[in-house]
């Protein structure tokens, strides 16, 4: 099951040229770009690991793409996303976030039903991948 989180996730995967153009757009707007990765695809897993430090003073997309290549080399089978943070006063939040790398095989989620007192049922999504320990999931 293909993971759909963030911008462009219903489109085919972006090529490096398209990623470069998006990053260039972020830099033009003065947003700080950061690279994050994870192997826990749960939609509520908001805090991915950051690869390196946030890149506040990069002028050209080539710098970000160098870092992305390094991240892909280290984590070829992880989800990797690019975040663009807008630091202007009153905004101070992410403006753009999109996935740039995903595992070859995405097993998806199962639905778990917890039966409570009476006839109440609580639902949970559970990623098959997280059955294995961190780092061995994909």
């Amino acid at each position: 099951m293909r993971l759909t989180q963030g911008t462009f996730s219903f489109l085919p995967d972006l090529t490096d040229e398209q990623i470069r153009a998006q990053v260039e757009y972020c830099l033009q707007n003065g947003w700080a770009v950061a690279i994050e990765y994870t192997d826990d695809p749960h939609p509520r897993n908001a805090y991915w690991e950051m690869f390196g430090v946030p890149m506040f003073d990069i002028r050209d997309a080539a710098g970000i793409l160098t870092e992305l290549r390094a991240c892909r080399q280290t984590f070829p089978d992880h989800y990797i996303k690019i975040n663009a943070f807008d630091s202007t006063h009153g905004r101070e939040s992410l403006r753009l976030s999109f996935i740039v790398n995903r595992p070859a095989k995405e097993p998806g989620f199962r639905l778990e039903r917890h039966e409570g007192p009476g006839r109440s049922v609580r639902y949970t999504t559970h990623a098959y991948a997280t059955d294995r320990p961190e780092g061995e999931r994909y």
């Binding site: 390196g52 003073d57 990069i58 002028r59 050209d60 080539a62 710098g63 160098t66």
Partner: protein, 302 residues
């Protein structure tokens, strides 16, 4: 290949129009106007500009036009304009369309080399990332290599630099600068670095005439001028100063002018009785401001 070469001979191209459209002429004229002397530097920039223009035309016709390697090394005596030209180079290459952003990242050894094991590589990569799309200027590059300490981390920085200089040639231009003899030693002990730098440019010492025109340029930027007598005195000052040790070309001229401004200021303040001062007084450096220099008083000093 042969067929395509023949085919293109039919269509003549307007080189003059292409030259005009690229605004290369303006860049070169500006360079001529703002920088005195430096003939080898200017002619090399002219060559590079011409090559970039021709490459663009070739690419339009579908001929192969690989991005030329533009890494450079600037060597010369102190004050010959290495840093100034490097600052301009980023701008020039940007206007010629070779680098995308045209900013200059100036660093020295401290910015590249870390203090403990594993510190150097991230530090160097950080700097390289920041410089991408522009020019990375490494001042006094020979400090990167310390042959007397074989565990020095400078070598690690050099290796990362080399890798990026080779693989990401279209992402950034590296300029190394430093004094001539020490740069030569540096390149002798790092042949890999030397061979990856396409342009070794020597900055010659300035002649007295050139130094005088530099002083005029500096003064007009500072909105001062020399009285005619002071002009002659200043030429004499340069001739004498040039013969003395530790002469640093344009930097010495700048320092001399700064000291002359100091003397002019106190001369104006100590002028007894007169409390009225004209605009002319404020902008003119006069003979005593120049002649008070040590260079004149220590007659025959080494």
């Amino acid at each position: 290949m042969n067929a395509s070469l023949n085919h293109q001979q039919d269509a003549p191209l307007d080189l003059a129009a292409a030259f005009r459209d690229s605004h290369v002429g303006e860049v070169l004229d500006e360079l001529d106007r703002d920088l005195v002397g430096l003939v080898p530097v200017k002619s090399r920039i002219r060559d590079i500009a011409a090559l970039l223009l021709i490459d663009k035309l070739r690419r339009n016709l579908g001929l192969s036009a690989g991005a030329p390697s533009l890494h450079m090394s600037f060597s010369g005596n102190p004050g010959t304009g290495k840093t100034t030209v490097a600052l301009r180079m980023a701008q020039i290459l940007h206007r010629l369309g070779y680098v995308r952003k045209g900013h200059l990242t100036a660093v020295t050894r401290d910015d590249l080399v870390g203090q403990y094991i594993g510190h150097t590589a991230p530090k160097t990569r950080e700097v390289l990332k920041r410089a991408m799309g522009g020019v990375l200027f490494i001042d006094e590059a020979y400090y990167l290599y310390r042959p007397e300490n074989e565990r020095d981390y400078g070598q690690e920085a050099i290796e990362i630099l080399l890798q990026v200089m080779e693989n990401q040639r279209d992402d950034l231009v590296v300029i190394l600068a430093g004094y001539k003899n020490r740069m030569d030693t540096f390149f002798r002990s790092n042949p890999g670095m030397s061979s990856r730098i396409a342009h070794h440019i020597d900055f010659p010492d300035y002649s007295v005439d050139e130094l005088v025109s530099i002083s005029h340029l500096m003064l007009s930027q500072m909105q001062y001028r020399l009285s005619p007598a002071a002009d002659a005195a200043f030429r004499e000052y340069i001739e004498r100063r040039k013969a003395r040790p530790h002469f640093a070309n344009a930097r010495s001229v700048r320092n001399a002018l700064d000291r002359a401004r100091l003397r002019q200021a106190s001369r104006l303040l100590n002028r007894g009785g007169q409390s009225v001062i004209s605009r002319d007084d404020l902008v003119t450096l006069d003979v005593p401001d120049i002649k008070a220099s040590r260079v004149f008083s220590e007659e025959g000093a080494s």
